[in-house]
């Protein structure tokens, strides 16, 4: 059915109610009506069925990925 995907905001439209999202070279428009936090250009959003449903905390994501790498490298797991 409709999958969810992470995309980067490259523009805003219609008084900032819509964001233009880029994912792997393709562009989609998504409504921001379901988000309750402010977003800015270059933020990454999880998008589903024409709506952004979550803002990805890029810094947090990078940190936890680095932590996973470290855990695996040092065989802490």
């Amino acid at each position: 059915m409709c999958i969810s995907f992470p995309g980067r905001i490259i523009a805003f439209k219609e008084d900032d109610c819509l964001a233009v999202i880029e994912i792997g070279g393709t562009r989609r428009e998504v409504s921001l009506d379901l988000l309750d936090e402010p977003v800015t250009l270059n933020d990454y959003l999880l998008c589903h069925a024409g709506f952004a449903i979550h803002k990805i905390d890029a810094e947090e994501a990078e940190k936890s990925l680095a932590l996973l790498q470290e855990i695996i490298d040092n065989e802490i797991y």
Partner: protein, 364 residues
């Protein structure tokens, strides 16, 4: 692609597999983990995850594909609605191929003149209602908590625009009630759930505490190989160290409190209802219906939809597949009379269906 490619790293995958093997060796029996999201089912098949796991970890697929769990009666009623002369019937593409009681599908009746259109979102259907004022545009809403808030937002927009030719034929379902049911299924004997990542984006992680309270493991998991393997690892950790809490693997996609705004819109427009699931029957408060205040946007108020005596083809075993009781290949029709090009049941129609995933990505 950012937030996708990093989670397919071969080094992380092999590192996680090694950890999983070590942990699994501590188990004295075979454990069963169920995923209840269609996107998980597809990803597990596509990345060949079953083949990589130690023998004593069994992954089974549950009722996570929205198209598959839609009852035959809902399909029959959709066919009835789509056949009305002044209706423009819209829904997601996969649903159009699901056969109803008598072998008809929305796709087939479209070929004979019914107005049926594929859309990617409820907003697209709403735009059609604006551009086709002389037609009654019906949007068939299916899907779980990830999708229903998007339909709620579309209904609120339609209200604002004073649209009177837009309505929802609601077949939305809720995930926790069906998980509760499966947890008690003796034959399944589940040890844990890979909880659906994007449903959790909306509902958060606390709702799954009934799983850990019952002594089983729960890990809210993302959709790339590293996510799924880490989710499985966290479940193993819970099972070997003792169940402590709902684990959140998919941190980049889920806040523990979910998305309160989306939930607010969802509850403003919809309320829980007892609905019929394919293969699982009626489950109390496991679906959604439009609240009275929004009945102007309920297809059931625009049309007198008949109660249809539906018949589900008895040789299709989707019901057992959806409950995780049999593997798709155990169905006699699998791969012979039933294939993705010529699907017999919904689990083969939808890309996210267990039968379609098993056909495209054979486990052996």
């Amino acid at each position: 692609m950012k937030f996708i490619d990093e989670y397919r790293s071969p080094a992380l995958v092999s590192g996680l597999l090694l950890r999983i093997k070590k942990k699994a060796a501590l188990l004295s029996r075979t454990i069963t983990i169920m995923e209840v999201c269609g996107s998980h089912t597809t990803a597990i098949g596509r990345f060949g995850i079953r083949r990589l796991l130690p023998e004593n970890i069994r992954l089974v697929s549950g009722p996570g594909c929205p198209v598959c769990v839609t009852s035959t009666q809902d399909i029959d009623q959709a066919l009835w609605l789509a056949s009305r002369p002044d209706t423009l019937f819209t829904s997601y593409g996969d649903l159009l191929r699901v056969p109803g009681s008598h072998g008809n599908s929305l796709e087939k009746i479209r070929a004979t003149g019914a107005q049926v259109k594929t859309v990617h979102s409820a907003l697209e259907a709403l735009t059609l209602a604006q551009t086709h004022p002389d037609q009654k545009v019906v949007f068939m809403g299916i899907g779980f908590e990830t999708t229903s808030p998007t339909v709620a937002a579309a209904v609120l927009k339609a209200e604002k625009l004073n649209l009177n030719n837009f309505s929802i034929f609601c077949s939305h379902k809720l995930m926790p009630p069906v998980m509760r049911l499966l947890l008690d299924e003796q034959e399944l004997a589940l040890d844990g759930f890979l909880c659906p990542g994007h449903v959790s984006t909306i509902i958060g992680t606390k709702v799954y505490e009934f799983i850990t309270d019952s002594g089983r493991a729960a890990a809210v998991t993302g959709f790339e190989p590293v996510d799924i393997l880490e989710g499985i690892y966290l479940i193993l950790e819970e099972l070997t160290n003792g169940i402590s809490k709902v684990r959140l693997q998919y941190q980049r996609g889920v806040n523990s409190q979910g998305n309160p705004k989306a939930r607010e819109l969802l509850h403003e427009v919809f309320e829980p209802a007892t609905v019929n699931w394919r293969g699982l029957g009626q489950i109390p408060d496991s679906g959604l219906t439009l609240r009275k205040e929004f009945s102007a946007f309920d297809a059931g108020c625009h049309f007198v939809i008949p109660e249809i005596e539906s018949q589900t083809n008895s040789s299709c075993r989707c019901g057992e597949v959806l409950r995780g009781l049999i593997e798709p290949a155990a169905c006699k029709m699998f791969g012979s009379t039933c294939t993705p090009n010529n699907p017999f049941g919904p689990c083969m129609v939808s890309n996210e269906g267990s039968c379609a995933a098993a056909f495209r990505y054979p486990a052996h």
